[in-house]
């Protein structure tokens, strides 16, 4: 069985930042907790886009502060 989109996001974040997945949750701040700046965040986003075959638009990108924000955007592309 393949991973859920949310799991895929967490795996990519953990792999790209070296932060253990158990320490990443919805409230985790991209900049403050994962220590990624804008270029890095965009790189991670691209990996997520490629892995899940989705496109995140510029307006959404500007609103991404936490891991939860990413999951929320991803969820809109995979309605239950």
């Amino acid at each position: 069985m393949s991973d859920s989109p949310a799991q895929a996001v967490l795996e990519i974040l953990a792999r790209e930042t070296g932060v253990p997945p158990t320490k990443i949750n919805e409230a985790t701040e991209l900049v403050g907790d994962l220590g990624i700046d804008s270029p890095r965040a965009l790189q991670v986003l691209v990996e997520i886009e490629d892995k899940l075959d989705i496109e995140v638009n510029d307006e959404e990108v500007a609103n991404l502060r936490t891991v939860g924000d990413i999951l929320e955007v991803v969820a809109t592309r995979f309605p239950a």
């Binding site: 701040e29 804008s38 965040a41 965009l42 691209v46 510029d58 500007a62 502060r65």
Partner: protein
């Protein structure tokens, strides 16, 4: 003596007194050349000839006039790289108003502080109109009313719906008139705006072209099919190289910086897509290509037609150049096409370019100097002054230093700015008898400039300027200090990664959880406000930071103690 100058442009090269006339004449001469806008996936989202770009701008000028915008009024352009951006920015110039380009806030997580940045710029410059994206406009309208009412904020669609004045009475600008304002650092509340003149902008755009094209004994139009750029238009490098192309009638492919940052290969693919190409980028752009492209990504990438890779706007790192040349030689990129240069917004863009046509060259930093604190043992030649421009290495008394001696770089020429907008004191400090004190340190060797460091405590991260006191004020507001507890921000160099930001903060806290939380808050706030990651946050007890008698933190000394691991870290 170490002052060098360069021959002058023949007047035939700058036959027009202002940007609208120069751009109009150039577009008529190359009616098929134009601008292609790419989207975040590198796909062409539209193309306009420069004639069409200018016609749309003239129409926007008429609409701005109907909205009450007058010559000299400040118009803030907070838009991504798009046709809309050109409509408004060039439209304002057409009208004689002063456009001010700011970051549109598309950076990850930037929307929260974007508002504060925008209102800071608007307030400081007393702007009469903001043109922004729908998202930003919505946030502005939702924001709590401040004491100073904001000017109207329109989206490009709303602006396009305005009726246009039937007759537009535009005064003919002279070369010495201010054409636009260029922000030197984009942070909240402390924007400083460089006044760039029509003559300075035309000069600098053509000087960039001459420097880029010199080894080819031609000009861009003679040997280049297109330029590919991702450098944002609110950045002096993105802006002036764009004007260069419009004035030379050369095609431009413009991609959003987010496209490049997310997928650097898209930029290289565009450069490899056909014909002879040019691209400009700060050092970090080349480093990003080195870091992100694996061996597999190089497959099928033919960079043999990439004629010029211009690098300026931040310190050129030997590690980056070596790694870039090494990696992309496999794609056919030739080392002699890597073209270092030097410039700053106060000189419009460009002061020096290595236009000899050889591979990049270095010299060791002269002995007996710390070179301004960058800790580099060898530094790149950034070439001689561009046309009509002089460079002097100034001793502390302002006199010219001999070859090989490090001093402050001064520049004089048509590109040098008129001053900061509404800041006579800062202007008087920066301009001495027409010479621009750049605040950068370097030395001359046989007429060519080598940069070694910086006199002023400026941080340059990924080609963007950060003022240390701005980071410190924010840090002090987060830590609750500012009175007794102070903060110091500075950068250290880490190889090809370039400048890394270090923050040292005095605190009155001992509990380790509290210390951890404080460090986290500092990272979050600084990250969101300035878009940078702190490489290190050092918390120390109150009173640990050396200060001058007037109470200013001594950043240089603190930086030295940090590098020597002498700071007594808490937690």
């Amino acid at each position: 003596m170490a002052t060098v100058d360069r021959g002058t442009f023949s007047t035939a090269l700058i036959p027009y007194p202002n940007l609208p006339e120069a751009l109009g004449a150039a577009a008529s001469q190359s009616p098929t050349s134009g601008l292609t806008i790419l989207d975040r996936r590198g796909r062409a989202a539209g193309r306009r000839t420069y004639l069409e770009v200018l016609a749309a701008a003239a129409q926007t000028a008429a609409r701005l006039a109907t909205l009450g915008i007058r010559p000299g009024d400040r118009v803030v352009v907070a838009l991504p790289s798009s046709f809309d951006w050109f409509d408004v920015w060039l439209g304002a110039i057409h009208l004689g108003a002063l456009p001010v380009a700011t970051a549109p806030g598309a950076a990850v997580g930037a929307s929260q502080v974007q508002l504060a940045k925008l209102t800071g710029v608007v307030g400081k410059l007393d702007a009469k109109l903001i043109v922004s994206t729908a998202g930003l406009a919505e946030k502005l309208s939702e924001a709590a009313p401040s004491e100073e009412p904001l000017p109207p904020c329109l989206t490009p669609d709303e602006l396009a719906a305005a009726s246009s004045a039937s007759t537009l009475d535009v005064a003919r600008a002279s070369p010495d008139d201010t054409a636009f304002l260029q922000l030197t650092s984009g942070s909240t509340g402390f924007p400083r705006a460089v006044q760039v003149t029509h003559g300075g902008a035309i000069h600098n755009a053509l000087a960039l072209d001459a420097g880029v094209a010199a080894p080819h004994r031609s000009d861009s139009r003679g040997f280049i099919d297109h330029w590919a750029s991702w450098v944002p238009l609110y950045h002096d490098m993105g802006l002036i190289s764009n004007l260069t192309l419009m004035l030379k009638g050369v095609d431009l492919h413009l991609m959003p910086s987010e496209a490049f940052l997310g997928r650097p290969r898209l930029w290289l693919e565009n450069l490899a897509s056909g014909g002879r190409t040019v691209a400009t980028a700060p050092n970090f752009g080349y480093q990003l290509c080195v870091d992100r492209l694996g061996d597999g990504d190089l497959e099928g990438l033919d960079l043999s037609n990439w004629q010029v890779a211009f690098s300026a706007a931040e310190m050129i790192r030997p590690e980056t150049v070596t790694a870039f040349l090494d990696k992309f030689a496999r794609c056919g990129f030739k080392s002699e096409n890597y073209r270092p240069g030097y410039g700053l917004a106060e000189a419009t863009l460009v002061v020096a370019i290595d236009d000899t046509g050889g591979a990049p060259r270095t010299l060791p930093v002269p002995k007996g100097s710390n070179g301004g604190g960058f800790g580099l043992s060898e530094v790149f030649c950034v070439g001689g002054p561009v046309l009509d421009t002089r460079i002097r290495i100034a001793a502390p008394d302002g006199s010219a230093s001999p070859d090989g001696r490090i001093g402050e770089v001064w520049a004089k020429g048509p590109g040098v700015f008129k001053g900061y907008y509404n800041e006579p004191d800062a202007t008087a400090e920066a301009l001495v008898d027409g010479w621009l004190r750049t605040g950068d340190l370097g030395f001359l060797d046989r007429g060519e400039l080598y940069l070694t460091g910086r006199l002023k405590d400026l941080l340059i991260v990924r080609g963007e300027n950060l003022m240390p006191h701005e980071l410190e004020w924010l840090a002090e507001s987060v830590s609750g200090g500012g009175g007794l507890e102070r903060a110091a921000a500075f950068s250290v160099s880490r190889g090809g990664e370039g400048e890394q930001v270090i923050l040292v903060v005095e605190v009155n806290v001992k509990d380790s959880t509290q210390l951890q939380n404080l460090a986290r808050d500092l990272r979050i706030e600084i990250g969101h406000e300035f878009g940078v990651t702190l490489a290190d946050v050092v918390l120390v007890k109150r009173g640990q930071l050396p200060k001058t008698t007037s109470g200013k933190v001594q950043r240089g000394l603190i930086r030295e103690r940090y590098l020597n691991e002498e700071l007594p870290r808490l937690g």
